[in-house]
Symmetry: C2
Subunit: 183 residues, 2 copies
């Protein structure tokens, strides 16, 4: 038994609340470590990938897109959901980068996983650093809208630190990439 | 008109799906920039705060707690939800730090905001660096379980980079704190 098993909560009953396109919401009855019962609101999510595409001259290919929940156009690294549970994450990252930016890459470096909101979703996101970039044609579907721009990584890290860039995966991807590259 | 307004989506109808304790789920009909209609699944969230409590000898007060959605005990910086929309975020951070760790702090530095998942929630989280710490009594409620530990910031940054620490707010808080402190 792990020393932290005494913190564990166990599921008594899981009630499906909403089966959406992106979000699958459940309300679970659980047993707490002290024997009490409680509930947990949980979003099941397929998982996602994000990419820091770095040019030979130290710029990152960024996207600007409107994010409805926050009612703003924000600046993000390329990213996307897995197509299915268990899809190979590197394959998904290559697909999302190619579709959203037209770019393929010679070198893919795994910068690790994170949980965006472990309090209420099982979503796990994997971030890659892509180098050795080759340009091609974007493959956006007709209902997808985004603008591409190239910005020096050092400048982007300043925009993360001063709060201009607010997207979570983008903050983590840029800060990890900068540290990985010794910048 | 802003040059990015052409990316904007507008709400046609918002349907409440689930009004939970933590999560408030909506399914909205929207109009895309090309005139087409689509839907967005949105979680409304009060917002949250997280704190990097740094001791005089360079250690961070960390919490281990079980996170039901990811079915694991994970390592996190102290954090909590706002009590109400519009609650002062610094007040909330001081309350959460005191309740979860018993600690008060002389110095509070705002390390900026981020959106954990701008694709599907309006949640905004503010991170603070707290220094000049004073120890006191934890004020956990009887159904709250967490273990405290102190770990050097430099070691924690290594654990973020190698993927051992997977919590998003913790990755951002530790990476920003390290960069802010020039480490």
């Amino acid at each position: 038994m792990n020393e932290y098993d005494i913190l564990k909560e166990t599921c008594l009953h899981s009630e499906p609340i909403f089966d959406g396109v992106v979000l699958h919401v459940y309300k679970d009855d659980i047993r707490l470590p002290n024997g009490h019962e409680s509930t947990r609101e949980v979003i099941r999510h397929l998982g996602a990938v994000a990419i820091v595409p770095l040019t030979d001259d130290g710029k990152v290919i960024m996207e600007r897109q409107f994010r409805y929940p926050v009612d703003a156009v924000i600046s993000e690294i390329p990213a996307g959901k897995l197509d299915s549970l268990g899809e190979d994450r590197l394959d998904a990252a290559k697909r999302e980068l190619r579709e959203e930016t037209g770019i393929t890459a010679d070198e893919w470096i795994n910068l690790g996983d994170y949980h965006p909101s472990a309090a209420y979703t099982d979503e796990r996101l994997t971030i890659y650093l892509a180098r050795g970039l080759h340009r091609g044609q974007q493959e956006l579907d007709e209902d997808e809208f985004l603008h591409l721009e190239e910005i020096p990584l050092n400048r982007l890290v300043d925009l993360v630190m001063d709060g201009t860039i607010t997207d979570g995966k983008t903050q983590i991807g840029l800060l990890k990439a900068a540290r990985y590259l010794g910048k």
